[in-house]
């Protein structure tokens, strides 16, 4: 195990994690996804995530805040959405 291979592996994991971040995934979601799709040990994902978080505290703070809000909003929005859909479709069917 040379330094380079570790470095590039870690880099790859970071890259994958960042992808997950663009999907607004949670850390657990990310661990699962990487394990499932990229065969990366969740422990590794978790560790790299943690280290990234340490190096980018602000980003992650912001990230988790927005994530919380998003999660909270989603229910209200979902139901509203559905209602609109229903009313729209019923309108459509009338026309």
């Amino acid at each position: 195990m040379g330094d380079h291979s570790s470095a590039s592996y870690i880099h790859m994991v970071q890259h994958l994690i960042e992808k997950c971040l663009t999907f607004h995934m949670s850390k657990e979601g990310c661990m699962e996804a990487l394990s499932k799709h990229a065969k990366i040990d969740p422990v590794i994902t978790s560790t790299v995530w943690n280290e990234l978080e340490k190096e980018n505290k602000e980003f992650f703070e912001s990230y988790s805040k927005s994530k919380n809000e998003e999660d909270r909003m989603s229910e209200a929005e979902t139901s509203e959405l559905i209602q609109k859909l229903i009313s729209d479709s019923s309108k459509d069917s009338k026309e």
């Binding site: 607004h24 040990d41 990234l52 980018n56 998003e70 989603s74």
Partner: protein, 421 residues
């Protein structure tokens, strides 16, 4: 000239020396005659005597010498380097902690002196490979080092050694004098204002130079930090707590996706890199019907504080503030949804990464579904993309952790080897 002849005599080995140290050009010396500079050769060569191949200890100087040896006009360079060196070797006043500590700080004049006299040094001690370009630098280092340490080693013979200790106190007086004089802050006047006895005009001159260069540096850095801070605030910094200035770059601002211009208002949602904006292919009207399904995923793009509204107000073609050059995708409800006009601009720019895919005519599958859990296929596709093309830039560009740290952590968690075999 003073140097040339002796050099020529002594260095038969090294052609470089002959070429380069030919005559000392007085113009290169920052003001003052050679005689003003003194160098204690005893000190300089003390250590060198034992080992003819030994180089003066450069470590002391730290970043004093970031000089590269190999350039054309050596003398010019060395003079410049002398200046750089001088500015780089700030003692405590400038807080740039380089190798020399305050107590034995090499006086700037000495620094300059050293540079200029490197040639003499070179002349004296030959047979060293580094005598050419390096020679000057390293001799310079040596003499600076030795000079700096003279107080400790007690080797200084005191003759014409101008050693100024720029204590914080002294520096403060200096700064005050400079500020007082404003534009007229020339060494001679500063000296007058300071009324410091032990200082020569030359000391002041060098110190002034250092000071100015340091200030420029600070200002440049501050400017950069300010601009980063501005952006950071604009991009969710408000929620991030408006953290105090950081010269570092927030990850928000380093997306490889490209970043839109600063927005007038802070966004409550971190848009930009995190948001994958779809780009429906055709015109708005066409995509309208499709959108209902796809807009749903976009809901999260709305600033949370907005009243929930129908996600798609039917024709929204009217004005996307930025004059949609190309169907601003997720704008089913732009004007209503977003706090500020510029907002749509963000996705627009931030999107280009996804454009090719979106342009394929499919509504972006990249958008997380309503419950904000991205679809499996989407994720899979994205991750595979990364695996297949590791050279692609990082989507967000977070600051990477130190490899050693990560490896250490992993080992602690029972992962001895990465990549795992």
């Amino acid at each position: 000239m003073l140097v040339a002849s002796s050099l020529r005599d002594s260095t038969s080995k090294n052609n470089d020396t002959e070429e380069t140290i030919v005559g000392v050009d007085m113009d290169d010396f920052p003001g003052g005659s050679l005689l003003e500079y003194s160098i204690d050769f005893d000190e300089l060569f003390a250590g060198l005597d034992e080992d003819p191949d030994a180089l003066p200890d450069l470590e002391i100087l730290g970043d004093y010498y970031s000089v590269s040896a190999g350039s054309g006009d050596e003398r010019g360079q060395s003079s410049d380097d002398g200046n750089d060196v001088v500015s780089g070797s700030a003692g405590s006043p400038f807080g740039s902690g380089s190798g020399l500590d305050t107590s034995s700080v090499c006086s700037p004049s000495e620094g300059a002196a050293v540079v200029d006299q490197a040639e003499e040094v070179g002349a004296k001690k030959d047979g060293k490979e580094h005598q050419g370009h390096f020679g000057k630098v390293k001799k310079l280092a040596a003499s600076a080092a030795k000079a700096g340490r003279s107080s400790k080693t007690g080797r200084g013979d005191g003759k014409r050694k101008v050693k100024v200790d720029w204590t914080p106190e002294l520096h403060k007086r200096f700064v005050q004098a400079v500020e007082q004089l404003g534009e007229k802050a020339v060494p001679s006047r500063i000296l007058e204002v300071m009324g410091a006895d032990g200082l020569t005009r030359h000391n002041i001159a060098s110190h002034l130079q250092k000071y100015r260069s340091h200030r420029k540096h600070l200002i440049a850095r501050e400017a950069e930090a300010a601009s980063w801070n501005q952006r950071r605030h604009l991009y969710g910094g408000a929620r991030a707590g408006g953290v105090g200035k950081r010269a570092g770059v927030s990850p928000w601002l380093v997306p490889t996706i490209g970043f839109p211009p600063p927005m007038p208002q802070p966004l409550h949602r971190p848009l930009g890199p995190l948001h994958v904006w779809g780009h429906p292919s055709g015109g708005h009207s066409q995509s309208n019907t499709m959108w209902p399904k796809h807009i749903v995923p976009h809901h999260h793009l709305r600033p949370p504080h907005l009243q929930p509204r129908p996600v798609w107000a039917p024709p929204h073609p009217h004005h996307l503030p930025y004059g949609p050059s190309q169907g601003m995708p997720c704008y089913p409800s732009p004007p209503q949804r977003f706090v500020a006009p510029p907002v749509p601009g963000i996705p627009h720019r931030a999107m280009y990464k996804n454009d090719p895919r979106a342009a394929a005519g499919q509504p972006p599958r990249l958008h997380p579904p309503l419950d904000s859990t991205p679809s499996n296929e989407t994720i899979d596709a994205a991750l595979e993309d990364v695996l297949a093309k590791p050279w692609l830039p990082l989507p967000i560009g977070l600051k990477p952790p130190a490899i050693d740290t990560v490896v250490g952590e992993l080992q602690r968690h029972g992962v001895p080897q990465i990549p795992p075999s």
